[in-house]
Amino acid sequence: MDMQRRDFLKVAAASAAAATALPSVAEEKTSTVVVVHGKDLVKMLNLGIEKLGGWGQFFKKGMKVAIKPNVAWYSTPEQGANTAPELIRECVLQAEKAGAAKIDIPENPCSPEGKAFPQSGALKAIEGTSAKLFRPDHKKGYRKTEIPKGKICKSAEITNELLDADCLINMPVAKHHGGATLSLSMKNWMGAISNASRRGWHRDGLHQCIADFATFLKPTLTIIDASRTMLNRGPQGPGDLAYPNELILSLDPVAADAYAATLFVGKVKAVTTPFDVGYIKIAHEMGIGCGDLSKVKIERIEC
């Protein structure tokens, strides 16, 4: 259940704060963003996780692990519309190594799943592992869930496996988005809800709905793939690409998104500061996390 994940978060944060220098969102009111720069995503991921206290902080034996990449589009890994498959694979392998009871990778894609999952490389990435990549069934795959702190989005049909996970990893790709300006980690939850729910968000105030949802679904860890970033014609592309060669990791999704947004300054016209992305500004104001990067500790690692 969701409570288990929250319990885990508390335990993880408390034990980490006591034992290491792992920052705690709840206690210190500051956030840390780990930015790993390099070419080898697998190495970068492991270095970043090490900085956050190692995989053991996140995956434990018997846990139900859910990973939510962005593999929504019929698009190749090089085109930057989907999360890099090697990140998905490494995460799955580490969860298996830790003895996770179940590894689910649910995604409600935009292109047909029979096209998006193979083309994104995700299907191949989980080959030979126990992880399951799937589109939730529109009738049974989601649970209608109240969002108590939501201002516009007061309830949503959320993927069962994401609600039930003990460890929830949000693993989006950073890219341009025609409707939401940028697609980052909080935007990635639109692949976690049913079509009926997400269609409503576009009608009713997209940015507020994205932030509302983030008040409820809290990832254990956010990992943003910014190895290549689509600068226009997103979210599907193909668009022009930049190559920041960065991997962004944080326990605070708002801080992670705010940092990722800075990679688009000067490249996407509408973005001059992270707060130009509506949902980052709203999420910061609602206190979901810290979007003000002057108050965020950024740890840079060269790989």
Binding site: Y74, P109, C110, S111, P112, E113, G114, K115, R135, D137, H138, K139, H177, G178, G179, A180, S194, N195, A196, R199, G200, H202, R203, D204, G205, L206, H207, R233, P235, Q236, A270, G278
Partner: protein
């Protein structure tokens, strides 16, 4: 049941199941849908009429012609699944005498098909028995849309007819039977007149001539008819434009093959000669997944037995405009309500929807040159009513 009929039953059930396709892998279904191509009427007359060879699968029409040259209508009495069904139902009615008063139309029909195909509008091509059989079994699929069952009507009609006038289909009407008889007579001139099993009628020449003349007149008329009306609906990709209603055999293959359930029988949009021809209907707000004509899919064009949908490459598919999207700004949540939306831009695989800043939000504008009418925008539009709709070109 005799051994022969047991074999016929097995053929009927096997072919029926293959076309029905329940539980079959996708690749197997594609091959099963090649069944109508065994009929030279669909394979050859279709290719002649559409002025295109529908791929090398057209060669599947040859065996039946060769068989007919040697064995006359052996196929009809041993393998044809439509003929088997018609014959079995005919047995339910003991009044065999009725058929004597019906003229032998099958060879005339075959003659009519021949000349009208040359003219480009093969009249009654949809009377082909394999097409009718296929159309029946292709209709039953999930989700069951009653409109889709349209292609099953001809099968039921033949059975009903067989109940009223036993054996009328095989002995009097079937153009494929007529064609086989004509071919056989061509190689066995001595048997002329007796080949169809009825000695009382004048030989080959007159029937063929009468049929061809009638078919020619009808074909010219048909071409006049069809050219005017076919633009009122969205056709599947690769559709021949001028004579589609004539060349299409209504076999239901394209409807069956579409993985996104977008193709349905027409009920009048494409003119009076267009009933049950395939038209594309985009489904709005489907709960499980957006349903649009996927850019790299050409499944419908791979199974058309007549060439009404010509075989195309994926590259050609990307260039074919099936229709064109139109934004209705008064209904659009971005234009009318100033919401951040442009889901249409998000889904468009051809980058034909451009987001343009307007009053602080992005609004969608269509680049008509890039739009292929695939319906991705229409199927994903969250506005109520839908604010972006694909119109025929």
């Amino acid at each position: 049941m005799t051994k022969k009929n047991l074999i016929r039953l097995a053929v009927f059930l096997t072919c029926g199941y293959l076309v029905l396709g329940w539980g079959l892998p996708e690749a197997a279904q594609k091959w099963a849908l090649a069944l109508p191509r065994l009929s030279p009427i669909l394979s050859f007359f279709g290719a002649i009429a559409s002025r295109r060879a529908a791929g090398w699968l057209i060669l599947l029409g040859i065996p039946l012609l060769v068989l007919a040259a040697f064995k006359n209508r052996w196929f009809c009495w041993h393998l044809c699944p439509m003929g088997f069904a018609a014959e079995m139902v005919s047995r339910l009615n003991p009044q065999k005498g009725w058929i004597r008063s019906v003229p032998v139309l099958n060879q005339m029909l075959a003659g009519a098909l021949l000349l009208s195909a040359v003219i480009g509008y093969p009249i009654f091509i949809w009377l082909d028995p394999l097409c009718i059989f296929n159309g029946f079994f292709a209709a039953w699929r999930e989700p069951l849309v009653w409109l889709n069952v349209g292609t099953a009507i001809a099968f039921g009609t033949i059975l009903l007819l067989s109940l009223i006038v036993p054996n009328i289909w095989c002995h009097r009407l079937c153009p494929l039977g007529g064609l086989q008889a004509l071919v056989h007579q061509l190689f066995h001139p001595a048997k002329r007149g007796a080949a169809a099993g009825e000695g009382r009628f004048p030989a080959l020449n007159r029937r063929l001539f009468l049929g061809a003349a009638a078919g020619g007149v009808a074909a010219v008329g048909g071409r006049q008819l069809t050219g005017k009306k076919s633009a009122d609906a969205i056709r599947p990709p690769g559709a021949v434009t001028a004579n589609f209603n004539g060349v299409c055999a209504r076999c239901g293959n394209c409807m069956r093959a579409c993985p996104y359930e977008l193709i349905q029988p027409d009920l009048g949009l494409t003119g009076i000669d267009g009933f049950f021809t395939p038209v594309v209907r985009y489904r709005h707000l489907a709960p499980q997944q957006e349903q649009y004509c996927f850019q790299d899919c050409k499944a419908c064009t791979e199974v058309c037995p007549t060439g009404a949908l010509r075989p195309i490459t994926v590259e050609q598919k990307h260039e074919i405009p099936m229709g064109r999207a139109v934004v209705y700004r008064d209904k659009c949540v971005a234009w009318a309500k100033k919401e951040y939306c442009v889901v249409c831009q998000e889904y468009c695989p051809y980058q034909a929807v451009i987001e343009k800043p307007q009053d602080g939000v992005m609004v969608p504008v269509i680049d008509a040159d890039k739009c292929r009418g695939c319906g991705a925008c229409e199927s994903a539009c969250p506005a109520d009513p839908i604010a972006i709709i694909v119109r025929p070109v």
